[in-house]
Amino acid sequence: MSMRPGGELATRPLHFIWIADCSGSMAVDGKIQSLNTAIKEAIPHMQDVADENPNAQVLVRAVRFSDGAQWHVSQATDIADFKWDDLDAGGVTAMGKALSIVADQLKIPPMDERALPPVLVLISDGQPTDDFAGGLQALMNEPWGRKAVRIAIAIGEDADQEVLKKFIANPELRPLQANNPESLIKYIRWVSTAVLKSASSPASQSAAASTAGLNVPIPALPDTTGPSADDVW
């Protein structure tokens, strides 16, 4: 038995980052509790997806933003070991700062060129109160920021759709509108399973075909239609 040529082998990292609005309005009508519940419920499903594709190492982090922005989970944590500590709400909406600190972590290094495209999930119920454009620019200045799968979930009618569209920066993909806890759970589940599965595939595609920005195929959205009387946000 002879030695395999080359150095150490390793699966490809797939960074998944929650970017969560924790402003004061998220305390109204149980939004922040619903978000905590939805993410907690999604974790075992993310673990299942990761188990199905052992060649992608799913690493999860989370950013919270209100009066400022901080890493809620700062270490890129293997999904097998990931635990969710509840977020609480209070303050304003420093979304731009949140995007800036994500941008810092998407630089190469610490990111690796061989990584799979990261998944960024921005969840907000309001309008940014800081320099959103500057934060978005910082994110888009990084190659991994531009090539990340960027999903936005709008909680309630007051969420700024235009800002979320700018974050997505893709006319083929709109913000997901969650007006009740059930639809929020469905969207969180979708992004943490179907989108995660798609992003963890090694399939490539023509760069010319992805000028719209969808370098990862986005799976069909979950059905969240239901009686409007259920809409509480």
């Binding site: 040529p5 490809r12 061989r114 495209p117």
Partner: protein, 284 residues
């Protein structure tokens, strides 16, 4: 002077294995490899590897990769053979840089058209393509990496992702082609795009004093299987050492297992490695 003994001779080896992710999903290997002449030895050898894009939007990319390596090796072999007597290498270089990429894309598209005529696209495939503008070559989207070694020059051509490494007699590794920053985040330039010829990277290197001892061609599933680039670059001197110590036959015997181990513990993608080594007697 015995010219025949002084003429560098080359040998080819290689293997392609289905990726661990494709084994799980039941998808075929999207990579392909081919060399000419078939015997894999001579003073003129052409080796090509290709990587079909693999997603549902490219439903025949495994066929596209096979057509790519077949057409590229044939065309480049014919080209180099036709230039063997040329006195002015500058003209050969110019033709390689300007004519060959166009001819390669044209030959591949012709082969794709023939394949479609013989095997019309199904409704499911047409749906996957989006029934856009009638140009269904996209279904066959693939990359192509080709190296020709001849008595007086080495020619490197690459469209899309993948890697070429050269290894000197002393084991020093380098890349003969400039980096293409567009090859990032699962995106690649491709044979199936308009003006694909303009995306080729080409290097024509006359053999003046020292030729490479070893040239490696790999689809991206192989370098992506290593924790870092240093680990991938180490493949070069390791294979050179193994060939010298145990012979090319040892590579033939073990390559499939090495590549299978790589995809399973690494990227999960299809993995293909082509090897061109200048002939050295087995010293083991």
């Amino acid at each position: 002077m015995n010219l025949e003994n002084d003429t560098p001779r080359w040998q080819a080896a290689g293997q392609s294995v289905r990726g661990a992710a494709h084994e799980r999903s039941g998808m075929p290997n999207q990579d392909a490899i081919c060399w000419r002449p078939d015997c894999g030895a001579g003073s003129l050898l052409v080796l090509a590897v290709a990587d079909g894009h693999g997603s549902s939007r490219y439903p025949r990319s495994h066929t596209g990769a096979s057509l790519a390596v077949e057409t590229a090796t044939q065309l480049v072999h014919d080209f180099v053979t036709s230039q063997e007597e040329a006195e002015n290498l500058s003209l050969v270089k110019r033709a390689a840089e300007e004519w060959l990429p166009r001819a390669l894309v044209r030959a591949w598209r012709d082969a794709v058209d023939e394949h479609i005529k013989a095997n019309p696209l199904s409704e499911i495939e047409l749906d996957a393509l989006g029934r856009t503008n009638g140009d269904f070559t996209k279904a066959y989207g693939a990359t192509i990496v080709t190296v020709a070694v001849a008595e007086r020059f080495v020619l490197y051509l690459q469209l899309g992702d993948g890697e070429i490494l050269t290894v000197t007699d002393q084991g020093a590794v380098s890349k003969p082609l400039v980096k293409d920053d567009r090859l990032f985040a699962n995106e690649t330039t491709s044979l199936c795009t308009a003006d694909a010829w303009s995306d080729f990277r080409v290097s024509f290197q006359p053999i003046t004093h020292e030729q490479p001892a070893l040239i490696l061609l790999a689809t991206d599933g192989y370098p992506n299987s290593f924790r870092d680039e240093a680990g991938f670059l180490k493949v070069g001197p390791d294979i050179l050492h193994t060939i010298r110590a145990e012979g090319l036959g040892h590579i033939h015997e073990n390559l499939e297992r090495w590549l299978t181990d790589s995809t399973r513990a690494g990227s999960g993608d299809d993995v293909t490695l082509g090897i061109l080594c200048s002939f050295v007697p087995f010293c083991g």
